[in-house]
Structures are given as C-alpha cells and as structure tokens.
C-alpha cells in the first residue's frame, strides 16, 4: 500500500464528515427511540388491553421485518402514497432508525419494568399513590436505571446499523467511503479506514456504557 499515510491524510477529513452524519443519525435516533420505546414499553405492560395489544403488534412487526425494508418503505414507498410524505434522506433515515430502535427499546423497557420487585408497587399503593403516580415516582425511575446498560448496547448496535442509510443516498461514513472508492479504486485503504472509525465510535460508546453501569450500581 504505497503512500497509505499520505492517502489517509488527504481523504480522512471527508470520512470524518461522513462519520459526523453517522453520529448525528445514531444519536438523534437513539434519543427519540428511547422516548418512544419507553412509552411503547409502558403501553406493553399497561392494564389497558387494547393499548397493550397495539404495542405488542408494533413490536412484532418492526422486529420481524428487516430494517432495510423499513428504510425503503419510508423513503421510497411513502412518497408514492402522498407527495407530502417525501422526506430528505436524513429525515427518512432518522424516522426509520427511531421506529426500529423504539421496538427494541420497548422490550428493554418492558423487561426493566417487570424486573422491579412487586413489593415496590404494593408499598407505593399502600401509601396512597395511584397507579400512575406509582409508575412515575417509584417504578419507572428504578426501571430506567436498569435500562441504561442495555440501552448503551442498543446505541452501539444503532451506530453499526446506521450504515444501511447509505442505500438511500445519505452521505454517512460508509457511503462517503464508497464515493471515494469510486474515484480512487483504493478499496483496501478506504474500507480499513471506515472500519477503524466505526471501531473507534463503538469503543467510545462501550466506555460510556461501562461508566454508566458503575454509576447506576451505586445504590443497589
């Protein structure tokens, strides 16, 4: 590989710009997905039968179909239904990844809520809190702490899965790499660089997860 260093120095700024898009898509999706997913997870354990079934259906559909299909459906199929549903690639990508991660996070939230000892709800109810207050002040705060480590892992998965957005012409890390290859034909160098950047991103994320895990375990 002659001149790998020089080559890298020339093209690294473009790749880092792509990496920024990757980070943006992943970060926005994980934040929105966490909120949506927690709500769906709470709906899933709700005593309201219809709500619980709707949430279960959502999780079943999203987890049972490929993310790539969901991405295409939003970016290519929706506009044919109604032109108003035409989104720029970044928005389509964020919607698809948010909806997808929400389904996985909903299951994380459900597991976390159900893992809280039944005595906590009983103690809360016996003090006179209603069901909603009990969820809000007692159950969900405890469940949220238990959600953090698996949520971090979901975040790592999302960084990698976000590479699928390269298929809808969003210039993320992978797509930027492919674009450079199309003019330089230096497959090995570019894919190596792209891989290393993904590794760095996911490693940073696992460090953050590790720190959170330590912090959270303090009171338990």
């Amino acid at each position: 590989m002659p001149g790998f260093i020089e080559f890298s120095v020339t093209y690294l700024p473009y790749l880092l710009k792509g990496a920024l898009i990757t980070i943006e898509v992943a970060a926005v999706s994980v934040v929105l997905g966490s909120i949506l997913g927690t709500l769906i997870g709470m709906g899933r354990v709700s005593h309201i039968f219809v709500l619980s079934k709707i949430c279960q259906f959502y999780i079943w559909v999203i987890r049972g179909t490929p993310l790539l299909l969901q991405l295409f459906a939003i970016h290519f199929a929706l506009p044919t239904l109604n032109e108003a549903l035409t989104f720029p690639p970044f928005v389509s990508a964020t919607i698809a990844l948010t909806m997808n991660s929400a389904a996985y996070i909903a299951e994380i939230a459900r597991g976390a809520i159900q893992s809280i000892d039944k005595g906590q709800m009983e103690a809360s109810r016996s003090l006179g809190f209603n069901h909603r207050q009990s969820m809000r002040y007692i159950i969900v705060p405890q469940a949220f702490r238990r959600m953090l480590p698996p949520l971090g892992n979901e975040c790592i998965a999302l960084i990698k899965e976000s590479s699928l957005v390269s298929t809808i012409a969003l210039y993320d890390l992978l797509r930027t790499g492919q674009q450079i290859i199309s003019s330089t034909y230096r497959y090995i160098e570019i894919f190596t660089l792209v891989g290393v950047i993904y590794l760095i991103l996911t490693s940073i994320m696992s460090c953050i997860v590790g720190i959170i895990e330590k912090r959270v375990s303090v009171y338990e």
Partner: protein, 267 residues
C-alpha cells in the same frame, strides 16, 4: 376484655372468603377491631394472617364478604357476585389512612431515607417542604435514625430499614397500622430495635393489627390475640386467655410447637 362494648369497630370483617385457585386462604372470617385496639394475629405460615392484612388495604381483593372501615364498606361482594368497591380516588384516600409495614420493608431503593418518607407527604398530602423536613427529622430521631437522613436504603441494616418503613407509614398519620411479620426477615440482634418502636405506638392510641411469630411481644402489647389456622379464626381472647389457657386443641398444638422451637433455638 377491656371496654368491650363501648367503642364501635373501626375495622370489621364480615364473612370474608379468599382463595387462590384451589387454595382457600380465608374461609369465612368475622372480625371486629376497635379504635385504639392492638390485635395480634398468630398462626403458622399459610394460616391466612398475611392475606387477612392485605385484604384490609385492598392489596388483595376478597372473593366474597364485606370489609368495613368506620362502618363504611370498602369492599362488598355478595353471594351472587355483585360487587361494590371504593372508587379509585376514594380507595387511594382510604389507603392513606391505613399504614402498612411489610415483611421485606419495601423501601424505595432509588430514594434516600428522607425522600422515602417525604415523597407521599409532598405528592399526596401536598405539604410544605419546610414542614416536611421538620416532620421527617422528628420522626427519624424518634426511632433513633436521625443520622440516616441522607442515606440510601442499601446502606442500612435490616432493623434500620424496617424502622424507616414504619416511619414512612406513620408520617401519613394513619388511623390504623398493619404489620405483616415485621421482624421475620431480620437478624435476631436487630429485632429488638424494631419491637421497641412498635411498643411505643399504642401509647398514642394507634390502632394496630400485627401478624407475628414473636409470642413474648404479643403477650406484652396485645389487647387481643387472634389465632388463625387454615383460613379460619380458631380462637381469640386476651393474651392470658390464649397463651396461658387456650381452649382449642389446635391452639395448644400450635403454641407447644412454637415454644419448643424457641427452647431449641435458645439452647
């Protein structure tokens, strides 16, 4: 029995039944508890003591019968299945008047001791923050735990946790306090601290219903001891009547089992 007919019952069970599948836990319970009375429930595990307590604040819904608080039915289920129950708002209000102390404490692990006690005062009673702080400090020093104000439950011993749990229930100023085997999950050396706190409560006229295996404690604090076996009340009376001169064979058998075990443990 002292002042038997004077005060009306604050809590009343009328022919209460409860079963879990084929397991009939309560089989026709009739029980009246007067204001300020200390009633101790004894009986072996599975006799229905815990379920009886949980029925009172409706953590468990009965299958049949009626439970009244201050002569008002909180739950009423007729033979034909027709049901009347407090509306949700009334139910939550009713629960604030009944303090419940659990065998496993059930403190909120994500909140400090102070927050454990203050949360309901703040969110339910809407009390002023300054007043809450004073009240929490007073109550904690009353049980000798003022230094644990900012501690998390995870940093406390079992006995300390249970004292905080008692204070948390007391802070709501309930009319009655229910104790579900409050010392059964404790190390022997911390049992005394919890019993000491419980001993102080009847002095303020607190109505108490206590399920326990601590016979000496029962003898000391109870106005009335109720012996339960297999979901029925077998016998009830003053501590002297039940512990020294039980009429029923089942009561005698239970007591001799408990006392033998005690002797074995202490030898």
């Amino acid at each position: 029995m002292k002042e038997e007919k004077v005060s009306p019952p604050i809590l009343e069970f009328k022919n209460v039944y409860k079963s879990y599948g084929d397991n009939h836990v309560l089989k026709g319970i009739d029980l009246k508890i007067k204001k300020g009375e200390v009633v101790v429930l004894i009986g072996s595990s599975g006799s229905g003591k815990t379920t009886l307590l949980r029925c009172i604040n409706l953590l468990v819904n009965i299958d049949k019968g009626e439970i009244l608080f201050n002569n008002i039915p909180v739950i009423q289920i007729e033979e034909n299945g027709s049901k009347s129950l407090l509306t949700n708002n009334k139910l939550n209000e009713y629960r604030t008047e009944i303090g419940f102390v659990f065998q496993h404490f059930n403190l909120f692990p994500h909140l400090t001791v102070n927050k454990n006690i203050a949360l309901a005062l703040e969110k339910i009673k809407g009390m002023d923050k300054k007043k809450i702080k004073e009240k929490v400090k007073d109550l904690l020093s009353w049980v000798g735990l003022e230094s644990k104000y900012d501690a998390y439950p995870g940093q406390l011993s079992g006995g300390q946790k249970q004292r905080v749990a008692i204070v948390r229930a007391l802070a709501m100023e309930p009319i009655a306090m229910l104790f579900d085997e409050p010392t059964s999950a404790l190390d022997p050396e911390t049992v005394g601290d919890v019993l000491e706190v419980m001993r102080k409560l009847p002095d303020d006229g607190m109505t108490m219903v206590i399920a326990t295996h601590e016979m000496e404690f029962a003898r000391e604090v109870a106005d009335r001891i109720v012996f339960m076996d297999k979901g029925v009340i077998v016998e009830q009376g003053t501590p002297l009547e039940i512990l020294n001169a039980p009429k029923e064979l089942r009561t005698r058998e239970f007591l001799s089992r408990v006392l033998t075990r005690r002797r074995l443990e202490s030898s």
